[in-house]
């Protein structure tokens, strides 16, 4: 039997600060959950390989910082990413509005084919964003919609699985590309003397 093909994809997580982006990724990749997850500065990078029915999908996940002023970094992560998960917190109305902005921006940029809307913290009360409203919005904008809880491990694997299934399976690129032109270039000045 021929070996199943391996496809590599970049996947980016976007969304308001403290909605649970890092927690979702850590639950998915390492199956752990911390009640108090350290704030992400810049972005974190993790990978996970999924085995589907007829192929293997390797996800290169970029988990980004949520605060508005880190927004200027976001395009660097979603550029060239065929998939994105936009996360909001069901107990925080503003985070849903922000999620819509993200979906709009991604669609405008045009590059991201598969967008998933994750309604996170679905174990928490009180809910401020009705499921019906979010679902309708996701349907209108062509996103995958899923209610998740990184804490109780609800729908986390399913979310990533659905994305992996939906991603177009073209010929795998030889990834990552590594070119080593001159491996023996000296690394600059290595003096012991100080200068300042």
């Amino acid at each position: 039997m021929a070996e199943p093909k391996t496809y590599s994809y970049k996947l980016v997580l976007l969304g308001e600060s403290a909605v649970g982006k890092s927690s979702l990724v850590l639950r998915f990749v390492r199956n752990v959950f911390c009640e108090y997850q350290e704030s992400t500065i810049g972005a974190a990078y993790l990978t996970k390989t999924l085995t589907l029915k007829d192929c293997i999908v390797k996800l290169e996940i970029w988990d980004t910082a949520g605060q508005e002023r880190y927004h200027s970094l976001a395009p660097m992560y979603y550029r060239g990413a065929p998939a994105a998960i936009v996360v909001y917190d069901i107990t925080n109305r503003d985070s849903f509005e922000r999620a819509k902005d993200w979906v709009r921006e991604l669609q405008k940029s045009g590059g991201v084919g598969v967008i998933a809307l994750a309604a996170n913290k679905c174990d928490l009360e009180p809910r401020r964003v009705p499921a019906s409203e979010a679902e309708a919005y996701a349907e209108d904008s062509g996103c995958i919609y899923m209610e998740t809880s990184a804490k109780n491990n609800i729908n986390v694997a399913e979310l990533f699985q659905q994305i992996a299934i939906k991603l177009p399976k073209q010929e795998p690129e030889p990834s990552p590309v590594v070119i080593l032109e001159k491996p023996n270039v000296p690394g600059g000045s290595d003096g012991g003397k100080k200068c300042c």
Binding site: A43, L180, C196
Partner: protein, 397 residues
């Protein structure tokens, strides 16, 4: 139970056998240095603080932790700028005006990060620790409303609270004076100067570690992918705490250029592994993201950083000027792509106005954006009366 370092942090990742060996030996080295420090501190007692060459050399080898509170204050010229009562009045202002939209938003942002700053450390898991963190950040937000709260600042405040435990006022003043040593638009609405610094780093890698720059290009890795955290938090949440303190000793004593030195040294020390990964056709990014966290050997790092030859301030200024243009263009493009036009226009104006006005005048740029607007006495602000360094004067001329 997981092993912890002397400051209470879990050793994560677990030090390699070589690093563990170093950490044991380092304790002995620290004891030896402490003896020397005790002598010098004894001599300095009661006299006005003078940063002698000998002291500078000793600081480069690390300030003993029990002397850090005093030394950092002296090096930051704390007594010159400290105004009794200002901290409390800033906190009162926050209390009275928390309904204002901009301030309210900033305070909510602060609140969100309190239990997400060094969550594994006992000092910040307690309500008292978080309250101290809250007050430091609140005072800073009120002091610089145009900057507000930038994620990452909480790690700076927390690191300072480890030096000044239970003394939020000291942590506030030292943070204010420390951040005044950074480029003005570091924590601004679009973090303009963080982008600039990372571009400068890329150029320095190009000049000094050409092979790594080529690898980055081939792997489509940008400096912003791995270095944002290094600069925004001054390595505070990226490295083992002892290494962080050693770097901060130098930032406090010699200024922000050391951040570039450390970044280059870190890459240089891991150059062999990066090249090896590349030879095996592996992706280099995970390594780039891990090298800081496992940098237990602060001695080698600092020695390498300070040993980099020809690392001139003027070079950094030239690179900064060139990078500013690029960053302005890039941020402009990003801003135009955004959906909320009002917000972007405002952000862009803040970032570029400061930059344009100050090109070629680093000292002026230093002040802009950090000047607390209406609610403080401008004349007394430390940033305004900062003496220009020799290099800055040269750059201006």
């Amino acid at each position: 139970m997981a092993a912890r370092d002397p400051y209470g942090f879990i050793l994560d990742p677990v030090p390699s056998p070589k690093d563990a060996e170093f950490l044991r030996a380092y304790e002995e080295i620290k004891k030896r240095r402490l003896v020397k420090w005790q002598k010098v501190m004894g001599e300095m007692k009661g006299k006005p603080f003078i940063r002698t060459n000998n002291l500078k050399k000793m600081i480069r080898k690390g300030i003993p932790h029990q002397y850090r509170p005093q030394m950092w204050k002296d090096l930051l010229q704390y007594s010159q700028y400290y105004t009794p009562g200002e901290f409390e009045s800033l906190l009162r202002h926050a209390q009275e005006h928390r309904d204002e939209p901009r301030l309210g938003q900033a305070l909510r942002d602060v609140e969100m990060d309190l239990d997400r700053t060094f969550p594994g450390h006992p000092a910040f898991a307690s309500p008292a620790g978080q309250a101290a963190l809250r007050s430091v950040l609140t005072a800073l937000v009120v002091l610089r409303p145009e900057i507000g709260y930038c994620q990452g600042m909480s790690f700076l405040a927390a690191t300072l609270l480890l030096v000044y435990p239970g003394q939020p006022e000291d942590a506030f003043w030292t943070m204010r004076l420390l951040t005044a040593r950074l480029p003005a638009q570091f924590y601004s609405a679009n973090m303009f100067d963080v982008h600039v610094e990372v571009h400068v780093l890329e150029d320095l890698i190009q000049q000094r570690l050409g092979a790594i720059r080529r690898l980055m290009r081939a792997n489509k890795v940008e400096g912003l992918h791995f270095a944002v955290q290094w600069y925004v938090c001054l390595f505070a949440n990226a490295m083992p705490m002892e290494t962080v303190f050693r770097i901060w000793d130098l930032v406090v004593s010699e200024g922000d250029k050391i951040l570039h030195r450390v970044a280059i040294a870190l890459l240089k020390l891991n150059r062999a592994e990066l090249l090896d990964r590349a030879e095996k056709k592996e992706f280099i990014l995970p390594t780039l993201l891990q090298i800081s966290a496992r940098c237990y050997n602060c001695e080698t790092l600092i020695k390498t950083a300070l040993g980099l030859l020809n690392f001139k301030r003027s070079t950094i200024y030239t690179l900064r000027a060139a990078a500013s243009e690029t960053v302005a263009r890039e941020l402009n493009t990003v801003a135009q792509r955004r959906t909320a036009p009002g917000l972007i226009a405002g952000q862009r104006r803040v970032g570029l106005r400061g930059r344009r006005a100050c090109r070629g005048q680093p000292a002026a740029c230093w002040c802009r954006g950090l000047i607390p607007e209406p609610n403080t006495r401008v004349g007394a602000d430390p940033i305004l009366s900062r003496p220009k360094s020799r290099a800055q004067r040269r750059a201006c001329a």
